[in-house]
Amino acid sequence: MTATDATTRPTPETVRMTLREAHKQSLRAALDHDERVFLMGEDIGAYGGCFAVTMGLLDEYGPERIRDTPLSEIAIVGTAIGAAMNGMRPIAEIMTCNFSLLAMDQIINNAATLLHMSGGQFNVPVVIRTTAGAGRQLAAQHSHSFEPYFAHVPGIRVVSLATHADARGVLAPALEDPDPVILFEYPRLMTMEAEVPVDPDIVDLSSAAIRRPGSDVTVVTYGATQHTVLDAAEALAADGIDAEVIDLRSLRPLDDATVFASVARTHRAVVVEEAWRTVGLGAEVAARIAEEAFYDLDAPVARIGCAEVPLPYAKHLEDAAIPQVESIVAEVRRVMHRG
């Protein structure tokens, strides 16, 4: 058990926990609820999980259900797909999305494709958990944000989990989904704590979430970055700018209706993401807003993404590469004073 798991005792209604613990609770609930569920991935068992999310589960559920695998990303994903086609509900873990590049063929050419290619005969109820994001000085090969790659592909559902409620609520619907679901978790948020209801909220993970209502400008984001955006929104509020912050949450399909409705009220939009800006999710959101809410807009939609560099190790460079409170505030201000 990690130090942060040993938090203060719950009041009758709420309990304080880390996001790591929220993820783990959700896995435990899935394992308890459906005996077809099993976990497989690198170091999820004896090691306790790369980010300690699965710590303890091996002891609780045993090696048949918590399956440590060799370092074989193709086989991990492909085997999970096969097991899903044959009656099981595997939850496969690819430690980080950086390594998911090794499994892209299985994810796209098999998981996303088999149902259609088989004329509807073989659905693939696999859940793939992975992580994304920079901010821990892990340098280029460990800091990618590949949500946009998966959001591009028909046949998979993509959900990003950056709050306790979403983390705890996700696995029930994900496992009910007859089709592949890819879950993004965010290592740099694992120790984030929150007071949450003892019983997890039911969340609709196919919808976007308005994390902060506001009337002046819509800031659309997803993943860990939303916490930076919320901080920026507070800074802007102090300055008289009331930003509405939308967490896309479901990255495929996109709940653009929530975005359009917001823009119809605010008339201005900024999209903030940690992935590279070019051909990112921000491009998609900006394009959709321009298509569907063009006449609502008082200014062009602005986008902030990762600087177009492989993520550097040095902290000042890494910080400069990814969206920060200051850069978000500056961009929102720019959009507010224009048009």
Binding site: S72, G78, G82, Q121, N123, P178
Partner: protein
């Protein structure tokens, strides 16, 4: 190199060969052959399009393997799959409809030649990424094991697939977890234009399996009886919980890699020598020798196969196209299971 030469010539009858069984094997091989010959015609007539990879010459493998497994065992195949699909028990009518892109095709016209799927016979496709189906087979077998099913998954792949990392990751996992998978390697000595001897530093494929502690046997893939016997032994061991087995079936494709391939890389003498080993006449003469078959009997088998394919083509031709409005169906599931 000596490997691509055809080896010994005549089938040996096992002591206990049942006449009807022998004839069934022959029928299946003839049906596959005739099906594909008709596909060539339909390809020339532009009714079949896309890639068309023929199994002609290799029919003994699918036929012998499927004869050795149970109905509810699973199969995973490649893009060179008509033989596997027919031998597994999928109707030639729905396969042909698939070849023509019709709604009654096994994959509703979405898959074509390379992507035949059939839940009823546990035929899990039809994978056109070399080695892409191998991890799926491992997963199917894992699910069977976890659910306590006494079932085996046969995974077909060419010797070229052994070049791919996916093969190695998969066979290691299957062996480590002791899963009921038969790794059925169809070694036809070429992957497209690449001779095995030019693609692998070590061409003894059994050594690769051994490096994962998987028992490996080499079998004459032109001898349907040998294929069946070896497969039966392997499947018995696998079903008995002994973990995966790797069988290398030595064979040869009589035709080019696909309809696009000018086949410039093989020595015509080599092709001709292998054609001498055609598994169909080989089995037919053995059965004739044993008194189970005569000329009329063979003619009947061929005529029945032709008639079946006629029916299949008629069925396929008269099957409607999927309505355009249904293009986006099956991207996500329509029912929650």
């Amino acid at each position: 190199m000596s490997r691509p030469s055809p080896g010994r010539f005549r089938l040996q009858a096992p002591p206990n060969l049942d006449a009807e069984h022998g004839l069934d094997l022959l029928r299946t091989m003839v049906r596959i052959r005739r099906f594909e010959e008709r596909c060539v015609e339909l390809y020339s007539a532009a009714k079949i399009r896309g890639f068309l990879h023929l199994y002609i010459g290799e029919e003994a493998i699918a036929t012998g393997v499927m004869a050795a497994i149970d109905l509810d065992d699973a199969a995973v195949s490649t893009y060179r799959e008509h033989g596997h699909a027919i031998a597994k028990g999928i109707g030639t009518d729905v396969i042909m409809a698939e070849m023509l892109g019709k709604v009654d095709g096994v994959s509703r016209g979405r898959g074509g030649s390379m992507h035949l799927f059939d839940a009823a016979t546990r035929f899990y496709g039809g994978n056109a990424i070399v080695a892409g189906g191998i991890p799926l087979a491992v997963g199917l077998a894992l699910a069977d094991k976890l659910q306590g099913h006494d079932r085996v998954t046969v995974c077909f792949f060419g010797e070229g697939a052994v070049d791919e990392g996916a093969f190695h990751e998969s066979i290691n996992l299957a062996s480590l977890w002791n899963l009921p998978v038969l790794f059925a390697c169809e070694n036809n000595h070429y992957s497209m234009g690449m001779a095995l001897t030019r693609a692998e530093a070590q061409t003894d494929l059994a050594l690769k399996a051994a490096s994962y502690a998987v028992p490996a046997w080499r079998v004459d893939g032109m001898d349907v009886l040998a294929v069946e016997e070896a497969t039966r032994k392997a499947v018995t061991a696998i079903r008995g919980g002994e973990g995966p087995v790797f069988i290398e079936y030595e064979t040869y494709r009589f035709r080019a890699h696909s309809m696009y391939d000018p086949d410039l890389y093989r020595d015509p003498d080599e092709v001709a020598a292998w054609k001498q080993r055609d598994p169909i006449p080989a089995l037919a003469s053995l059965l004739t020798e044993l008194g189970h078959l005569d000329e009329d009997g063979l003619a009947t088998i061929e005529a029945e196969a032709d008639a079946e394919i006629d029916v299949a083509v008629t069925f396929a031709e008269s099957s409607p196209l999927e309505p355009l409005d249904d293009l986006e169906r099956f991207v996500v599931s329509e029912v929650t299971p």
